[in-house]
């Protein structure tokens, strides 16, 4: 299975990446190499192994509904490139 240039463009758009043609070409090569690894896995015989929803054998891992303390706001905002009045600031969002 190979990835087409249009599929690269589609995935780039979903990831909000603005790529030029040479970047799209090189990503196609890289992604195809990556998908090639899965072909190797697919070649392995898994006969007799049931499909699973999760790699681990754990089920029902959860926590009781007991609140604990949160970040101090200064700490929460510490890595934000921009913040104002206690809010994370991002460029104006125009819904598409």
């Amino acid at each position: 299975m190979a990835i087409s240039l249009d599929e690269v463009r589609h995935v780039a758009k979903l990831a909000r990446l603005d790529l030029d043609e040479p970047e799209i070409m090189s990503l196609q090569t890289e992604l195809n190499a990556l998908i090639g690894h899965f072909s190797d896995i697919q070649a392995v015989d898994f006969g007799g192994v049931d499909p699973k929803l999760h790699a681990s054998n754990l089920t029902n891992v959860w926590a009781e509904d007991v609140p604990r303390s949160s970040f101090k706001r200064e700490l929460a905002l510490k890595n934000a490139p921009m913040s104002k009045a206690g809010l994370f600031l991002v460029p104006m969002i125009i819904e598409d």
């Binding site: 589609h10 979903l14 990831a15 909000r16 929803l53 999760h54 790699a55 681990s56 754990l58 089920t59 029902n60 891992v61 959860w62 926590a63 009781e64 509904d65 007991v66 609140p67 604990r68 949160s70 970040f71 706001r73 929460a76 905002l77 921009m82 104002k84 009045a85 206690g86 809010l87 994370f88 600031l89 991002v90 460029p91 104006m92 969002i93 819904e95 598409d96």
Partner: protein
Amino acid sequence: MPNYVTSVGMEVHAELSTKSKMFCRCQVAFGGEPNTRTCPVCLALPGSLPVPNREAIEMVIKTALALNCKIGGTKEESIFHRKNYFYPDIPKGFQTTQYGEENPFGYHGYLEIPTPDGGTKRIGIRRIHLEEDTGKLMHLPSGGSGIDYNRAGTPLMEIVTDFPPDIHNGEEAKEYLSQLRQILMYLGVCDGKMEEGSLRCEPNISIAPEGSKELGVKSELKNLNSFRSVQMGIAFESRRQEAALENGETLLQETRGWNEQKESSFAMRIKEAENDYRYFPCPDLVPMSFTPEYIEELRANLPELPLAKFQRYTQEYGLSAYDANLLISEREWAYWFEEAIEKGGEPKAICNWMNSDFAKMLNEEGITSRQSKITPDHLVELVKLIEDGTISGKIAKTIFAKAYETGDMPKKLVEASGATQISDTGAIKAQVQAVLDANPDVVAKYKGGNMGVKGFLVGQIMKATQGRANPGIVQQLLDELLSS
């Protein structure tokens, strides 16, 4: 011009009333200073690991049971998925949710709504799943957007009706939402506050010519924050679409906003294609499974739901549909009523007091029954005092108002005011005679055939006894003395 049939699919989001968030233990609350309830998990810092809130899962299963659903995770394991999209209200780049037809905690259920003809109609429910709420985005006047992640990660239950839809107009949609809200509040899983956004409804509406097998192009309606706006918004959309089709226009699949002031909808965005969310099982969260014993235990412990209460109140207590509906409107109100009945109150009398004087006083003050000084004990005692003839219904109103104000028990108030009803025939007879003696002209009028003046005489007697004379005995004695 064909007749059009409207079809409405309902997507309801309910914020669950847990104390902590869905995948971290940050506190859940409304409002507050922005970004004061966040942590590495809900801010999606690298290396953080989500752990599901057990209570939230249980709340969804309870809701699914109350809505007659099959339960996911009983036959095969139930899992969480990632719904991938980039938008700053979700810091992880994906929303954790549940995907697929038989994987959610609830599927293939129904809710019965009352119909105008007194019957019920079954509204199919396709799925009930658990996901997480997003942060709040605020567009700043200075340009740019500010984000508050306090709400990010709040457990959010999504309830989706069947396709093709069973709902065909705004009234049914409103009724569905109102029944659903009541059930959620009885289960104690959501506070139902539409104005605060803890219960949000996004109907999608389409119209098609009667008899058509295909549904029309749908629009999704947002910003509906009351039952009224849900009903009006759907009615408006259905008229708007019909007018557009009659004008030969082509409808577009779009998201529209509801403008409450203008009572009309406006285009927000056109949906060109289904978003490509690339759902996949969340590797950070392990599968969940539930034993039949656990599910049956939850089912057995469900509280009596509003519809069952309604039937019991009308059939067992003989209350009118109107009265029963008022009593079940809020869980706390119904429980208050039932406590009074358990304490020996006569259901009809208790109900009348609750739905008239008590409700009026609570509304005026803007408080709930549990916040007032009146307890079920007060009302039970008051109703007994009327039943055994100690006080008249009229005096009871004054006593109730005093008890509401002070919290004193009715018996004590009656004793203190000396307002007990006079049922002693001898004492009343003397008063009646005195009034007749004082008003010979009126008596003459009565005897001359003007029966209407009797009311005046009764009024005079009640006045003379400060309203305490037993009205039945007054009438009887008056008739006797006037005819003698």
